[in-house]
């Protein structure tokens, strides 16, 4: 820098000397000193030009120009602080929102599928009953997987895994842990290699070894680098840690990286160590093989292999792994990202409008620079430098905004959504933001610059520059359209949340805590478990402050539900292929404790236990599906038998008599699931010898209704477990309302994001409307003054301005509503109780936009009506 300045100084001195010589010569020729100097200057030509050309020879001029432009830009921006703050604020908001969404999309959608060639990975499963109203998914059995592996020519590998929760003992004691029983080839198929140690090889099958996920290694093993060879205890047996997975591997889906993997050991009955005869199946397509091709081959293999009777009714299904993982979050997040992109567009439009206004104000300055010899290119370079300075400042601000927002998100939602605890801004994203900022800076300069050029070509008269153009108005209409879409989407989400809040759960969640217990020892006999469960139920019911406790195999919002979906014969109803009902095992006092409404008949009684007949309750959906015309009470139902099936194949062999009908109860964890036909069985009546007894006794779920404070209740329950059933381990204990909240969480988060974004959009649009109107009023003061002098009233003047505002809004609303409908359609799976084009929402959105535009127009209107016609005419 010093060198350049020195050289520049030297050159200018030299020029000065040159001109002095010439002047002296001219004087010697007899000119007056003044004329002599003028002639000398004329002869020399443009001093600055010569200096610049001379220095250009030395190179590095671009840098000097850049510094000069930057200094100039800072100086001229500081002269208009209001403009600068508005512009930077606008862009920072737009870029900040984009950064937040990029961080979410990256951590939720992109990183989890960051496996080598994840596009080749597919999941396989069986789907039941092609007919009927319900198709459920079944894990493929191990023999089926083996056969596929042997016969397939299009799959390069096929692996299985089952994830379950079991108590595992490490140095830090025994804790419930995610355990994945994986086929030995799983990691190889996924293309993973160990962070330390090694992963499974075929020889590990059934060996007492484990591989641990990165999360488990960090949390439970305290990132111990010497952990390889250490021993953990699972199912009462020691197992050696042979490897740690690299950070960032999130497998199985939804488990984060907290799982511990054991190499599956399939016994002679075809069951793994969890006693399951099938598993989640993942396969890798050979390079270049399309999924439909592979599916067709797999289906034909499946069709021709030996299968159990149940398997014969199923079809093989296939879905890309990427879709499986990101499925439910994919659409909302991409939609939000698109929304945020639109927001950035609004910000760009505002920036362009601001710059158009400023450029017009600067016409004088620019004409002077141009007539002093600055080329259009040089002026454009200067303008772009200024834009980039603004854009990069905005990017820095946006990064700060995003940084805090992401921390907030992580803090607020980290425990609620998988992968949200990993949301972060990383360097790649920051680079993207900076590039985006540069792009925004350049784009928002182009429109004003083109206008400048047009005006430079025209002789730059002051009056010429007062002509207004249609472009700013069009940009504002565009903003209105985009804002309309965002507002409409947040409206739809709001209505969805309202509808969901009105959903009847059946089970009254008020003051209810859900407790899940499992035996610490997996080999504990089902009979022992069942007796323990009954004893604990009795004990809990006698605890002081507890109003009632019931057990239920599928409690609303529990993650540990056991679901039995059985094909069912109903007397007086002809069985159709695939017709089934869900079965829930409850305790005798279920109806009283749950608060579910008994619509007809009676509930379970103690007397039912001793009587030989099995009595059941059914829900409204069952009545609707199987006996809509007749009363359901007294109807006998039984599990449907295929030819050749015996009592031993049935969960319950006996007939079951319906004694009561209850209202629909929410099944599973989502409020928008449609109600399925459901049969309630009293656990006390459930045959002990049933094959399902074992499954249902794997865990025990209690719903405890109590007005005690949570810590007190938790303490009471835990003390009772310790005393009466020390062999049971607590898996989960939480209020049911927490589950309700959590199930709404995803939508609530989406709503908050969209509402936040549309708020920003509305703000920017208002600023846009204000800017255009204020500018237009400033330009048309003369016109307004003349109109008023010619008899136009203040009211007419106000209408004159407001009409302009309304025009921009109305032109924007039309494509806005169309866009809103399209995004509603794209989001329809996310909506509940509201259509994709909701008239009420649209009306409210339009009203909001009109009100906003009136507010934004208020100040310019006021300024217009305050124009003093006499003053204007005098100026004329």
């Amino acid at each position: 820098m010093f060198g350049w300045n020195h050289r520049r100084r030297q050159l200018l001195d030299e020029f000065e000397a040159h001109i002095d010589f010439e002047t002296e010569e001219n004087i010697a020729r007899g000119m007056t000193p003044e004329a002599a100097r003028r002639a000398a200057r004329k002869k020399f030509g443009n001093v600055l030009h010569a200096a610049e050309d001379a220095r250009a020879v030395w190179g590095g001029l671009w840098f000097e120009r850049l510094m000069q432009d930057l200094r100039y830009a800072i100086r001229s921006l500081r002269a208009v602080p209001a403009y600068t703050v508005t512009l930077i604020g606008t862009l920072a908001l737009g870029l900040g929102c984009v950064a937040i969404m990029l961080a979410m999309v990256d951590s939720v959608l992109l990183r989890p599928i960051a496996l080598a060639h994840s596009e080749q990975l597919v999941k396989l499963w069986g789907q039941g009953g092609p007919e009927g109203y319900h198709a459920s998914d079944f894990a493929l059995s191990f023999p089926v997987v083996d056969e596929l592996e042997r016969s397939s020519t299009l799959l390069s590998g096929i692996a299985t895994y089952n994830t379950d929760v079991h108590p595992l003992t490490a140095q830090d004691g025994t804790r419930i842990t995610l355990i994945t029983s994986a086929s030995a080839n799983l990691f190889q198929l996924l293309g993973l290699s160990a962070h330390s140690g090694r992963l499974f090889v075929p020889a590990d099958r059934g060996q007492p070894v484990v591989v641990v996920g990165d999360g488990f290694w960090r949390e439970r093993l305290h990132s111990d680098p010497h952990v390889i060879g250490a021993v953990v205890e699972l199912f009462g047996k020691p197992r050696t840690i042979i490897g740690v997975l690299p950070a960032g591997v999130q497998f199985p889906q939804g488990s984060g990286s907290d799982s511990v993997f054991v190499p599956a050991a399939i016994n002679a009955k075809g069951e793994n160590e969890f006693g399951l005869d099938g598993a989640d199946t993942i396969a890798r397509l050979k390079p270049g093989v399309a999924a439909p091709q592979a599916l067709a081959e797999a289906q034909s293999i499946y069709l021709n292999m030996a299968k159990t009777p149940a398997e014969r009714e199923r079809r093989l299904m296939m879905r890309s792994y990427q879709e499986t993982v990101t499925g439910d979050m994919q659409k909302p997040l991409w939609t939000l990202l698109a929304g945020v992109g639109a927001l950035l567009l609004i910000a760009c439009a505002n920036a362009a409008n601001l710059q158009i206004g400023r450029a017009t104000n600067r016409m004088g300055e620019i004409s002077i620079r141009s007539s002093l010899g600055a080329s259009f290119g040089r002026i454009l370079q200067q303008l772009i430098t200024e834009s980039l300075l603004v854009a990069f400042t905005a990017a820095a601000l946006a990064t700060a905004i995003a940084f805090f927002a992401v921390r907030l998100l992580r803090h607020a939602y980290g425990n609620d959504f998988t992968r949200f605890d990993e949301i972060s801004l990383h360097p790649g994203m920051l680079l993207a933001i900076v590039l985006l900022a540069a792009l925004v800076g350049i784009i928002s300069t182009v429109a004003p610059a083109l206008r400048l050029r047009k005006q430079m070509v025209r002789s730059s008269g002051v009056k010429g520059s007062a002509r207004s153009s249609a472009l700013p108005g069009v940009l504002v209409s565009l903003q209105i359209a985009v804002t309309c879409v965002l507002l409409a989407v947040s409206g739809l989400l709001t209505r969805t949340l309202h509808s969901l809040a009105d959903v009847k759960l059946g089970f009254d969640p008020h003051n209810v805590s859900t407790l899940v217990l499992i035996p610490a020892d997996q080999s504990q006999s089902p009979q022992v478990s069942r007796d323990l469960e009954a004893r604990l139920l009795e004990r809990f019911n006698t605890l002081p402050g507890v109003d009632g406790v019931t057990t239920q195999s599928s409690v609303p919002f529990s993650n540990f539900n056991m679901d039995l979906n059985g094909r069912t014969d109903v007397d007086g109803h002809t069985y159709r292929e695939g017709e089934s009902a869900h079965y829930s095992l409850v305790s005798t006092n279920f109806v009283r404790v749950s608060g579910i409404h008994l619509l007809q008949g009676r509930t379970f009684t103690q007397a039912d236990e001793s009587s030989g007949d099995i009595v059941v309750l059914v829900n409204e959906a069952f009545v609707h599906a199987f006996s809509p015309d007749r009363g359901a009470l007294g109807t006998v139902i039984r599990f449907h038998r295929n030819p050749g099936e015996t009592d031993a194949d049935q969960p319950v062999a006996q007939n079951m008599t319906i004694v009561g009908v209850v209202e629909n109860e929410l099944q599973g964890g989502a409020l928008d699931t449609p109600y399925q036909p459901l049969v309630y069985l009293d656990f006390a009546q459930f045959p002990r010898q049933s094959m399902l007894s074992q499954i249902f006794n794997v865990s025990a779920q209690y719903a405890v209704r109590s007005s005690l404070s949570l810590p007190v209740l938790d303490r009471e329950l835990r003390a009772a477990i310790k005393q009466d059933a020390p062999s049971m381990v607590e898996m989960s204990l939480r209020p049911m309302s927490e589950g309700v909240e959590q199930s709404l969480g995803q939508r609530r988060l989406a709503l908050r994001l969209v509402t936040g974004f549309s708020g920003v959009a509305l703000l920017l649009s208002a600023a846009g409307i204000y800017g255009v109107l204020a500018y237009s009023v400033a330009l048309r003061r003369r016109e307004i003054g003349i109109r008023m002098a010619l008899g136009s009233s203040r009211k007419e003047t106000a209408m004159f301005v407001l009409r302009q505002a309304m025009r921009m809004v109305l032109i924007g609303i039309v494509p806005g509503v169309a866009g809103a409908w399209a995004s509603g359609h794209a989001l329809r799976s996310f909506l509940y109780g509201v259509g994709s084009l909701d008239p009420l929402t649209v009306a409210l959105v339009a009203l909001t936009l009109l009100m906003t535009s009136v507010l934004a127009a208020a100040l310019p209107t006021l300024r217009a009506v305050q124009v003093d016609p006499t003053e204007m005419l005098r100026a004329e």
């Binding site: 030299e14 020029f15 030009h49 200096a51 010899g373």
Partner: protein, 119 residues
């Protein structure tokens, strides 16, 4: 715009101007103004460019190492920057001069029949 026109003239003359500067400096060191005057005189005022255009050419020659510059005092006791030829500059002048002469001869040869026809 005059500045644009100047620039074109400069580009056209760039090679020529370099040659003229080198030629002027064969008689000894000179400052910018003296060089400009000498060129004007010797080209009989045909090569009329803004004196300012001389300086980019001087900078170029400095950078190429064909001339050197030093601060000094002029005949009428003014501070000025004096330029003189380097050995390289002298050699360059010789090759350029002969090349220029060949080029001028060729141009003359090409143009002469046309000139006759037009006459």
């Amino acid at each position: 715009m005059t500045t644009q026109a100047d620039k074109e003239a400069l580009d056209l003359l760039q090679g020529t101007l370099d040659l003229l500067i080198l030629q002027t400096l064969t008689t000894g060191r000179a400052h910018g103004h003296a060089i400009a005057h000498s060129i004007e005189r010797r080209s009989e005022d045909v090569l009329q460019v803004g004196h300012g255009s001389l300086y980019p050419a001087l900078q170029r020659l400095l950078k190429l190492g064909l001339i050197t510059a030093e601060d000094g005092t002029s005949e009428n006791n003014r501070k000025a920057r004096f330029y003189s030829l380097t050995v390289n500059g002298r050699r360059q002048l010789q090759t350029e001069t002969s090349r220029w002469e060949r080029f001028a001869a060729a141009v003359a040869l090409i143009l002469s029949p046309v000139a006759e026809e037009n006459a």
